[in-house]
């Protein structure tokens, strides 16, 4: 079942895309559907955001005001900076026009005249690929003034980021488009009321928008029956780490994790056993081997294991992996990427990293494990944006689920005086 990464040669070319039914959904919407009908179709399909939060897309669109003189904006989030995620670049490369058509449908549904596609600065190659596709769509009259002879007009621009994980957070992304430091904004007000330049704004993930044309073409009911009922459709699973065939695999939601690893990725590298899998990009709580055997890859199913689908970036680790080293690398990342606005995140990410390193240096104490959990819990929920949670979850849950991995690194003769430890951590 392929909705986005269809196996059609040269689908990235506009003529090939058109001859395979491309832009027919947009034509249909312009001719036969009212903007509200488009929104309703998306709403009824139960499409949920593919950027990690799984928010219902159609519902998000209904938050946009229908009246008022302020211009409205669409931001397409192609920052893709979550470690382990590399799906959007696949869309830019293999099927950019389906994404562009999704953008146009979203603009039509919400009465938007300017859409900005925010792409991480490192994706130089893919920015050029998408720009070429946008240029072709302009030439064919799908974007621009009076599209296809109607009174609907809209423009699509690419905005290149410059290396900041935090700009994948929707309000930081808006600040970055406005030419500012990528600081997340306090919510409320929410973007639908007060977004880019104080105007109503909707932010959608690239993959989310790429699903929309097929929903309009084939109907909400068709889409809602694919995969897991509460989280329907397909996902672009980006599998990396210790598998024989890493890559992006488009599969229905709810596909068992082991099916992805064994049947699609050719099993674990070197015929080893699994030790840990991070199911949705580095901020998601990991799964143990036992959990992997039971896990289905949709948001509701992963909740059972206190995890979440995130961006569906599956990172697989075999039995030889040093879990502590992996967690240190993750903690280092969030420490580096914290924007510094909120004290719990700015300071807490550094504390997590230093305590983890202390354990790695053989100077850990048993009470460090409680300390890590405590610091993580004091970051979680106490920050403006979700980067704090993203930094806290992997530490909290890896320590909980893989406690033995940490305990075995703590010297046996250590004197575990909690008070001393507290004094130490304050230094």
């Amino acid at each position: 079942m392929k909705i986005i990464l269809k196996e059609i040669p040269d689908l990235h070319r506009i003529d090939v895309y058109e001859s395979n039914g491309g832009y027919s959904a947009f034509r249909k919407a312009l001719k036969e559907m009212s903007p509200d009908e488009v929104t309703n179709e998306v709403k009824n399909s139960n499409l949920r955001g593919r950027g990690g939060a799984c928010f219902p897309t159609g519902l998000k669109w209904t938050f946009m005001p229908k009246t008022g003189d302020k211009p409205k904006y669409l931001c397409c989030n192609g920052d893709e900076s979550e470690p382990g995620s590399f799906k959007d670049r696949e869309i830019f490369e293999k099927n950019p026009h389906q994404f562009i058509e999704g953008v146009l449908l979203a603009c039509y549904a919400m009465g938007i005249k300017s859409a900005y596609v925010y792409i991480r600065g490192e994706y130089y190659k893919w920015i050029n690929l998408l720009q070429a596709a946008i240029d072709d769509a302009y030439k064919k009259g799908y974007i621009g003034k009076n599209i296809l002879g109607t009174d609907f007009s809209t423009d699509v621009y690419i905005h290149r980021g410059a290396g900041a994980y935090i700009c994948g957070e929707e309000s930081a992304l808006m600040n970055s488009i406005e030419g500012k430091r990528g600081y997340p904004r306090v919510k409320p007000p929410f973007p639908a009321a007060n977004g880019l330049w104080g105007c109503p704004t909707t932010i959608n993930n690239i993959e989310t928008l790429a699903n929309v044309p097929e929903i309009i073409k084939n109907g909400a009911e068709w889409f809602s029956k694919i995969g897991a009922p509460k989280h329907p459709g397909t996902l672009l699973f980006g599998v990396s780490g210790h598998v024989n065939k890493p890559g992006v695999y488009e599969l229905p939601t709810g596909t068992p994790l082991m099916t992805i690893i064994d049947d699609y990725c050719g099993g674990i590298l070197g015929g080893k056993e699994i030790k840990m899998v991070i199911p949705g990009g580095s901020s998601m709580p990991p799964l143990t081997k036992e959990e992997c055997l039971k896990a289905n890859m949709d948001n509701e199913s992963l909740k059972e294991f206190s995890s979440s689908i995130g961006t569906a970036g599956v990172m697989v680790m075999n039995e030889d992996t040093d879990i502590l080293k992996v967690l240190i690398r993750i903690a280092k990342f969030y420490y580096h990427e914290s924007c510094g606005q909120c004290t719990p995140c700015r300071e807490g990410t550094g504390w997590l990293l230093r305590v983890l390193k202390r354990i790695d240096d053989g100077k850990g104490r048993l009470s460090d494990l409680e300390l890590l959990t405590s610091v993580a819990q004091n970051i979680e929920g106490n920050t403006i944006c979700a980067l704090g949670d993203a930094a806290a979850w992997p530490v909290k849950w890896t320590v909980k689920k893989f406690r033995e991995e940490f305990v075995k690194r703590i010297p046996k003769d250590e004197i575990d005086v909690p008070v001393l430890n507290k004094v130490h951590s304050l230094r």
């Binding site: 995620s85 600065g121 290149r160 290396g163 030419g179 690398r329």
Partner: protein, 161 residues
């Protein structure tokens, strides 16, 4: 300072028209500065500020926030090696350490001849083709190992001479 020629200034006008507020063109203009100069100097920040009506202090804040904007000159070949988890699992650190030792430079240092800078970078979205290296914020070199990276560096060295 007059950094941009007529054509480039026209391009900037075009970029400004994408946004309701000219200040939003700051990131694209800074990219153009870096493309031309290799880094973003205080003088070029002031120049960009005058073009867009943005105070120097604001630009300094922006340039220092984004890791891809070079705050100092870089080597002709800026080697950006990912060591985040997916790359780490497939030898990202081995690759980084190899290049670092071969060139005799540490993170963010430049070789004495000004040819190479090495930088340890965060995930570049190339996880299935790990380990990898980006060069000069542009080209991706994927599925690397120490042999392949050695050949690449030799190749780059030839271009320099």
């Amino acid at each position: 300072m007059q950094l941009f020629n007529e054509e480039e200034l026209k391009r900037i006008e075009e970029i400004k028209s994408h946004y309701p507020d000219a200040r939003a063109a700051l990131l694209p203009v800074l990219w153009m500065v870096q493309e031309k100069e290799g880094w973003i100097s205080p003088d070029s920040m002031k120049y960009a500020g005058d073009l867009l009506g943005v105070p120097y202090e604001h630009i300094l804040g922006v340039v220092s926030f984004y890791t891809m904007f070079n705050k100092q000159p870089r080597g002709k070949y800026h080697l950006q090696i990912c060591t985040n988890v997916s790359c780490m699992l497939r030898g990202g650190y081995e690759l980084y350490n190899y290049v670092s030792e071969k060139l005799g430079i540490k993170n963010n240092e430049t070789t004495a001849d000004g040819m190479f800078t090495i930088e340890e970078v965060e995930c570049l979205g190339s996880c299935a083709t790990a380990p990898m290296m980006q060069v000069n914020n542009k080209e991706y070199y994927e599925n690397l190992d120490t042999n392949k990276v050695e050949t690449l560096i030799e190749e780059f060295s030839k271009h320099i001479k």
